[in-house]
Amino acid sequence: MLELRGISKSYGDHKGASDVSLVAPSGSRTVIVGPSGSGKTTLLRLIAGFEAPDAGTISLDGRQLHGAGGSVPPHKRNIAYVAQEGALFPHMSVGDNVGFAMPRQAVDRARRVDELLEQVGLPAGFRARRPHQLSGGQQQRVALARALAQKPDLMLLDEPFSALDTGLREAMRTMVGDVLREAGIASVLVTHDQAEALAFADHLVVMRDGLVADAGPPQRLYERPADVETARFLGEAIVLPSAIVGGVARTALGDVPVRHEDVARADVLVRPEQVVVAAQSESSMGALGRILHRSYRGAQWRLEIDCRDGGVAEPFCVDVPAGLDLKPGDLVRLSVANEAHVFPDSPT
């Protein structure tokens, strides 16, 4: 288990991390997500030991890596690090890269290299190739094999898919997740891509301005985030001011069931997929909105709907089936399906 307690790190006036505490359970796939400058990469570098925190303690599986007793140097932490573009050594072959952490005289070195290459989906024939002869995806696979070769206690992945094409990124994400699960290695991945974070994590940490804004299982963070900013960072969010009476929030889009005590004023989160859209001619129930734009997405239309007259502060986007014939300028009826989330820091 990785444990960070009260970690702070400043660069002059800029705070990279400010009193950060988090726990990454053993064998988990933890993802730290946040916008640029939020401190996520700082945290990763502190865990790796490339930089030392100004305050706080870091421990891994009960072993203190940084604290009052000093700091364990990076080469003694047994924490693997996979950089953004793999950081393969360009003067070495693929085989030498993968075998870098193995003793040179190890008798089964070549066999082990081949096994690792196979594990990440590369043929053994790649052993003699040079890094510049590989595609971006292949370079990342070699970097992963090289990191696995050291049998680390923890693997750190610094935006490892960001340089890849969209399609390849998804395939690599799945492959890396599978390989780490099979090897039973805990990992911490850093990314600014919320979709990637939600897809990869079983434990998600959202960072903002050097602070942990929210942490927990990804589904909980998406559906019941701690604050409006986290909700908006993780996906499209419609925030509706409302009054809550008897487990029902009275919002501009109608009555929505919530789990919250009665309050006169609260902010309620509705995700676009909860919004039900119907042509005005087909329904008389729900709030009235007007379609501003639409864009074709194959199986769906994405509609931008203005419901400011109904009390929704900003236009929002909703996906509807492609068969629904709605055009810009049309009036539609809007309602909310399923339970909504009330922000805990809502004004009361």
């Binding site: 080469h75 950089a83 393969l88 360009p90 971006g136 340089a163």
Partner: protein, 525 residues
């Protein structure tokens, strides 16, 4: 209205098409002519070797004197190159990678010796320690004068290396010293080889430095044969051996370099790295750049200052100095303009129409950079004396020699400048209705001009301190700064030589600034 739009569009399309053929026959012809002229020195050496006959070659080459020169030259290479590599890597690592105090200041100090021509370094040491000569002096002064040629590429490569590679190696259990030898040093190999080659070629070509340290090399022997004894065949054949040594050095570098690529893998920008904390070694580490700066800068500057002080107002003979300055300026300006113009066709082809023929032509342009100035001068002396006597010791021949000597320098700068102006910009201008010449003027020439000016300035600065070729080819009555300096130094009148040394240093300072800026641009790139 519709018709006029169509006509406009057709005209624009025609303009755009006419710019498509960047390998215009006239440009190709001009580049081919320059390439052929560049082959003259090598052709001369081959011709001499082929026509001398085995008996003459055996008599003039296989003799103890030549053996001694060979041993001297090899000793020089064997001692200077490894010591320079060690020193340059240590200095570059300290300055670029550690928290050594005043790192930026030291990066200037380490390349500042380039502002002093090698023979001025030698002059200063000769005046500072008159009994210090021979191999030891030659090795020390060579290292001090030429170390920046190694430091600059090594430091630039250290800045370019992706810090993530070193961090990854550390995370894989390698200690910092192992990371340096396993990850960093192998990736400095190309920079070290390139710098070492440059120093090696300078060692083979240098004349003034070794005359003043009283250390005989092929270059000093050739000039000696040419000037004192005027033994044409002997000088020519020694020149042949010198060319073979240059080619051997090039071949060795090529062999060791191999075809490996050490460029950073990946397309993204490398992150800036932190500096290694030296801890209690922070102050002792200062000794290395301090000692280097003391030997390479303080000794020459103090010696020069001493001679300027002791010489007083008498040594400022402006009736000599001003004409020398004027002649140097005229030669530098004319040489720079002609060299830059001569390099334009090849630079244009290299960027806009690369191909096998163009690459061959480019090799013809570039190889002369590896030939010592003494060979180029020797070739032009022999050719003009035997084939075109009216051109012997004329301004035209001297400037032509400068063009050959500095063509590669101009080509490199021009090629980079033209590459910064992609052809798409010309096409965009043409598609907006500009005729071809106007399109080129408003895009490529405007964008490439600053770089072209910079490379012309580098050529001019090179000509300002050129000595060997100028001594052998200059018309009677020519007295450049370098020639005046050399004349006084040869008579051991160090005080009278001092103003000329000072002027050459002042004129070379822009070279140092430009090289430092280029080095910084490598970091930004």
């Amino acid at each position: 209205m519709a018709v006029s739009v169509d006509l406009g569009a057709t005209k624009a399309a025609k303009n755009a098409r006419s710019l498509g053929s960047s390998g215009h026959p006239l440009i190709l012809g001009a580049a081919a002519l320059t390439g052929l002229l560049s082959l003259l020195p090598l052709g001369f050496v081959v011709y001499i070797a082929a026509t001398s006959g085995w008996g003459t070659i055996a008599d003039l080459v296989f003799r103890p004197k030549v053996g001694g020169l060979l041993v001297n030259t090899l000793m020089l290479l064997v001692l200077v190159l490894p010591l320079s590599v060690l020193l340059a890597v240590a200095l570059a690592w300290l300055i670029e990678r550690t928290d050594i105090p005043f790192a930026k200041f030291w990066s200037w100090m380490v390349i500042a010796p380039l502002a002093l021509p090698a023979f001025v370094h030698s002059y200063a040491w000769n005046a500072f320690m008159p009994r210090f000569h021979g191999l030891g002096a030659a090795v020390l002064v060579s290292i001090l004068a030429y170390l920046p040629f190694l430091y600059l590429p090594v430091a630039a490569q250290l800045r370019r290396l992706d810090p993530a590679q070193e961090e990854t190696a550390q995370s894989m259990g390698k200690r910092p010293i192992e990371v340096f030898f396993l990850v960093v040093l192998p990736q400095l190999r190309l920079a070290i080889l390139g710098g070492a080659l440059l120093i090696g070629l300078h060692l083979l070509a240098e004349y003034g430095l070794f005359v003043l340290t009283r250390f005989d090399t092929f270059a000093t022997a050739i000039v000696d044969q040419f000037q004192s004894v005027y033994s044409g065949p002997s000088a020519n054949l020694l020149g042949g051996v010198l060319v073979l040594l240059c080619l051997g050095l090039l071949g060795l570098e090529n062999l060791v370099r191999g075809s490996e690529r050490y460029a950073r893998v990946g397309a993204g920008a490398a992150r800036r790295r932190g500096r290694v904390a030296l801890g209690r070694w922070r102050c002792p580490a200062l000794l290395l750049p301090l000692i280097f700066a003391a030997l390479s800068l303080a000794v020459p500057v103090l010696t020069l200052g001493r001679w300027l002080w002791s010489g007083g107002a008498e040594i400022w003979r402006f009736d000599f100095i001003l004409p020398a300055l004027g002649q140097t300026a005229v030669l530098a300006l004319a040489g720079a303009v002609l060299t830059t113009l001569a390099a334009v066709p090849m630079a244009w082809l290299a960027v806009r129409a690369p191909g096998r023929v163009q690459r061959t032509l480019e090799a013809c342009h570039s190889y002369v950079g590896a030939l010592p100035g003494v060979i180029i001068a020797l070739a032009l002396v022999t050719i003009t004396v035997q084939v075109a006597l009216p051109l012997y010791q004329t301004l035209a021949t001297l400037i032509f020699a400068y063009v050959l000597m500095f063509l590669p320098r101009a080509l490199v700068g021009l090629r980079t400048s033209i590459a910064q102006a992609p052809v798409e910009l010309e096409r965009a201008a043409a598609s907006l209705g500009r005729p071809p010449v106007s399109a080129i003027w408003h895009t490529t020439i405007r964008l490439a001009a600053p770089g072209a000016m910079a490379s012309a300035a580098l050529v001019a600065l090179g000509i300002t301190t050129e000595l060997t070729g100028t001594l052998m080819l200059a018309p009677n009555g020519t007295r450049t700064l370098a020639m005046r300096f050399w004349s006084y130094t040869s008579e051991l009148d160090f005080a009278s030589a001092a103003p000329y040394a000072l002027l050459m240093i002042v004129l070379s300072i822009p070279l140092v600034i430009m090289l430092h800026m280029q080095s910084d641009r490598v970091e930004q790139a």
